[in-house]
């Protein structure tokens, strides 16, 4: 059996390779002839060497940069969930593929994590042996003096009016003064300096790990939640109160501190003139809060860049908008809905979109969908629009619906009308306004719905603020890590590790000093100046004290 296999292999190898046939005969028929069989241990060692090589580090760094790119181009669900769902709606074929690839949450995706974890392993594998070498080098004596100093990249030869021993002593003193670790030898001096460079480099690489630990800690135990609160209303810090909440994977709801707060007012200023009219200049909001139930109330003012910090939890003012207060009555004259309704702005003039739902209306439920325009404007081309972000001429422009709001089917988006079982009202106005009825309301105004279905009154305009409550533990660790990293970098990039040697010989009755140096930094350069300086110092150095006493 085995002999047939062998002949087959021989045939396949062909007549040109008689030795190959011989080799094939002794090895099992596993093409191609692999590198000398590696034992698992050797294979592991080989893989480890590959992983911790500088080349791999470079490739992984590049991969990391490349892998971050989609995260900036494709909407990310932990940053802007709304954008993600819009994007998905717009790209029905791509969306499922992207979803599978984790492209909507690049920075938690397995492949992104794989890259940085590999990088971290590589980094550790790189640091540990280097630490060992560094430790050894730190205690090592300066390197042996090369036989031929003039072969080194930079060297000088000069004469000194002193005897050789004195010349050596002088050179030794100069090197030490220039902060070399110097050693006096038989006929030469050797010096080395710049140990801090490697130390800085190691510190930098260790700091990368520290930063990552701090960052990961925050990602795992931190949280970030957003809540829209109408001015005058309150908020207490529990999960159910949040409109959106993104916890770290090890976060537990019990970690939420029992803060509660009430939004007292909100104030925004806008530029009223000039080309940038409408651009906001200030936002601020006054709130009252208590740290824990029963604690005395305290006051605070929130504004952009000025959060409230409570027990490490930050409360930010991150957005604002309008909440028109409306009263909806049904066909029987009963109040079916009364209160502020949050409208979400979708451009810088605060033209805002929202829906009003009156599920209690009888005989049929009522719904409204439309725009809130803080400063009303109208052109035939554009239709109704907002001219300015402040509520100067507030108008509600709504399309009313009747039928079934579909709210029995469980939780529903408050910013959307489910129109499957809703019908618009027919318009009674001029035909050019279209077939469906559309209402335009100013504050204080009431409009009757067609067919006696009810009425809606625009009572007044309230404002809402969006508060973000977040906690990112571990940020101190990350910050310290980065600062140490920069310190390390400075050492790594700017300390010049150098070696210098001098050999003193006696030629024709004169003392000749040969001075040579080596620069071991990536930057190189400046070595010539250093040697010039050394030469100058040695030449001008006062004779050794021993001689002075003579």
């Amino acid at each position: 059996m085995s002999s047939t296999t062998n002949t087959e292999v021989t045939a396949a190898t062909g007549p040109d390779e008689p030795t190959g046939a011989g080799a094939a005969a002794t090895t099992p028929p596993t093409p191609p002839p692999a590198p000398p069989a590696l034992s698992p241990v050797e294979l592991g060692r080989w893989a480890w060497r590959q992983l911790t090589s500088m080349r791999t580090a470079l490739v992984l760094l590049f991969l990391l940069a490349l892998a971050a790119v989609p995260g900036s181009v494709i909407p990310q669900s932990n940053i802007n969930a709304v954008d993600v769902s819009n994007w998905k709606a717009d790209h029905p074929t791509l969306a499922p593929i992207y979803e599978k690839l984790g492209l909507f949450s690049v920075f938690d995706s397995p492949w992104f994590s794989a890259i940085y974890l590999l990088l971290m392993i590589s980094l550790m594998g790189c640091i540990v042996p280097r630490l060992r070498i560094y430790w050894r080098n730190m205690r090592a004596r300066p390197p042996r003096t090369p036989r031929n100093l003039s072969r080194l990249p930079e060297s000088r030869t000069f004469e000194l009016d002193a005897d050789p021993a004195d010349a050596l002593a002088r050179t030794h003193a100069v090197l030490r003064r220039r902060r070399y670790r110097a050693e006096l030898r038989e006929d030469s001096v050797a010096g080395e300096r710049g140990y801090l460079r490697e130390a800085g480099n190691l510190l930098f690489h260790v700091s990368v790990l520290i930063v990552l630990v701090g960052f990961a800690y925050g990602q795992l135990f931190g949280y970030k939640g957003g809540v829209i609160t109408v001015v005058g209303q309150g908020f207490s810090n529990s999960l159910s109160q949040y409109d959106e909440f993104s916890p770290g994977s090890l976060f537990s709801p019990g970690d939420l501190p029992p803060i509660s707060l009430t939004v007292k007012n909100f104030h925004a200023d806008y530029l009223t003139a000039g080309p940038q009219a409408g651009q906001p200049t200030t936002f601020s909001s006054k709130i009252t809060y208590t740290d824990e139930p029963g604690a005395p109330q305290q006051h605070a003012k929130l504004s952009v860049n000025h959060p409230l910090n409570l027990h490490g939890v930050n409360v930010f003012l991150v957005g604002h908008g309008y909440a028109p207060v409306v009263t909806v009555k049904d066909g029987k004259g009963h109040i079916a809905y009364k209160g502020p309704v949050v409208f979400l702005p979708h451009n810088s003039t605060f033209e805002s979109f929202g829906v009003i739902k009156a599920p209690d209306a009888v005989p049929e439920q009522l719904g409204f969908e439309g725009l809130f325009l803080p400063t009303y404007g109208f052109t035939d081309a554009r239709g109704p629009f907002s001219r300015f972000p402040a509520a100067l001429v507030p108008v509600l422009s709504l399309v009313p619906y009747h039928g079934d709001l579909g709210m029995d089917a469980g939780s529903q988006n408050v910013y959307e009308l489910d129109k499957t079982h809703l019908k618009p009202f027919a318009s009674s106005g001029p035909a050019k306004l279209g077939p469906t009825a559309r209402l335009k309301l100013s504050p204080g105004q009431t409009v009757q719905l067609p067919n006696g279905a009810g009425s809606i009154r625009f009572d007044k305009v309230d404002q809402w603020v969006k508060l973000q409550v977040s906690d990112s533990p571990g940020k101190d660790i990350a910050l310290i890590g980065v600062l140490l990293g920069i310190l390390g970098l400075l050492g790594s990039l700017f300390v010049r590790p150098r070696r210098a040697w001098a050999r003193v010989t006696r030629r024709d009755g004169r003392t000749v000093v040969e001075l040579a140096g080596l620069d071991r930094s990536s930057g190189g350069g400046g070595l010539a100046d250093e040697l010039d300086e050394l030469e100058r110092l040695v030449s001008n150095h006062p004779p050794a004290p021993m001689q002075e006493h003579k």
Binding site: M54, R55, A57, L58, L61, F62, L64, A65, A68, V69, G71, S72, V73, Q76, I79, N80, D83, F107, P153, E154, V211, G222, K224, L271, P275, Q276, Q279, P280, S303, V304, N305, H306, P307, N314, F316, V318, S348, Q468, V469, S470, S472, K475, A478, L479, V482, L483, G485, I486, L489, L493, F494, S522, G523, G524, G525, G526, L527, A528, D529, D532
Partner: protein
């Protein structure tokens, strides 16, 4: 002066700054054009000595005049002399041109002229830079209320180009960058022109998110680092071009590339300038930025497109430093990585602001 006065002074100052940069550019062009009449150095000065002391384009040229006019056998002796030259240069400040005058003949005279034009170029660049800085400061004073002058693309471009100009001048002496003058001034002129003609916006107040101490630190550091990276990118481009010309044997002795410092010097200058910029960038992108973000948005790292790209830039430059430190990867590969780094930087500034303007929380992108 009222805010409006400051604002219009700023407009005038930036105009004058551009004009002065144009003049500086013309001076450097003249410097180069006059130099063309003298063949540039043959690649004879490859000794470690010359490499260790980067000399400016013109100094080297001055030295080469003698072989050009005298017997070619002298050129070796001349090269040997270079070991001494840089030291004399250092001692005599920038009086290198004087050395060339030693040999008489028409070329020697033109060397002094060339040197003069080079110096005029630098002097004009300094003047342009002062006007440029004045324009930026008065722009801030010209807004009501007074604020940091980087609220929109116009101002940011003005600040970024100032960063390039300042970095070039700051590193000029230390790394002897005068050979770069032609390209730096050309860059400044073109970008400022685009800025004034295309991006101009009248002075106005800042959006609230930009009112922050840390933002000021963050942007200042980012601008300084970007300036250094721009200077580094110029050195890397020139390195690659020269390397290619040498590889292909198309390096014309009278051409621009031949007048640049030796490859090794270009590579090293690029490294040093990048090494200078990298810690500053680290501080800007990974310390000041996150601290500001913590105050402005409640979490220090949000993976906002601008942050992502700042991070990408950081990683690419870290890769550059690695490549530069790896034997065999110096030179071409490292220079290419440096240019990729600069491309990510530019993309962050231009691309993100224009393509993702609305999405990015960094709202100075002109919408």
């Amino acid at each position: 002066m009222s805010a409006a006065d400051f604002a219009s002074f700023s407009n005038h100052a930036i105009m004058f700054a551009s004009i002065v940069y144009v003049l500086a550019f013309v001076a450097h062009i003249t410097e180069y054009a006059m130099g063309r009449r003298v063949p540039a150095a043959a690649p004879s000065f490859t000794s470690a000595d010359t490499a260790a002391a980067p000399t400016s384009l013109l100094r080297r040229e001055a030295r080469q005049t003698r072989p050009a006019s005298a017997a070619s056998s002298e050129s070796t002796a001349n090269t040997a002399a270079t070991a001494v030259l840089p030291r004399e240069d250092a001692a005599a400040g920038s009086g290198a041109a004087a050395l060339a005058v030693g040999s008489d003949g028409p070329e020697a005279v033109s060397d002094t002229r060339i040197e003069q034009f080079g110096r005029i170029g630098v002097a004009l660049t300094v003047l342009g830079c002062l006007l440029h800085a004045a324009a930026l400061v008065t722009r801030g004073l010209g807004s009501d209320p007074i604020r940091v002058p980087w609220g929109n693309m116009y101002e940011f471009t003005m600040a970024g180009t100032l960063g390039v100009s300042v970095m070039y001048l700051l590193l000029l002496r230390r790394y002897r960058l005068r050979w770069m003058g032609l390209l730096v001034t050309a860059f400044l002129v073109v970008v400022l022109m685009v800025d004034v003609l295309v991006l101009y916006e009248p002075a106005g107040p800042l959006v609230p998110a930009l009112h922050s101490y840390w933002l000021m630190i963050h942007v200042t550091a980012a601008i300084i680092a970007s300036g250094a990276f721009a200077v580094g990118a110029i050195a890397s481009v020139l390195f690659l071009l020269k390397q290619r010309a040498i590889d292909r044997g198309t390096l014309s002795p009278r051409g621009y590339l031949a007048r640049l410092p030796e490859l090794r010097v270009l590579d090293r200058v690029a490294y040093r300038v990048h090494a200078f910029g990298f810690p500053i960038w680290t501080f800007a992108a990974l310390v000041a930025g996150p601290i500001w973000a913590e105050y402005a948005w409640g979490s220090y790292w949000n993976w906002d497109p601008k942050e992502v790209w700042a991070f990408i830039t950081w990683v690419v430059y870290a890769a550059y430093l690695h490549a530069r430190a790896t034997a065999g990867w110096k030179g071409k590969l490292a220079a290419t990585i440096a240019l990729i780094g600069f491309a990510t930087l530019l993309f962050n500034f231009v691309g993100i602001n224009y393509f993702f303007g609305g999405d990015s929380m960094h709202s100075y992108a002109g919408k």
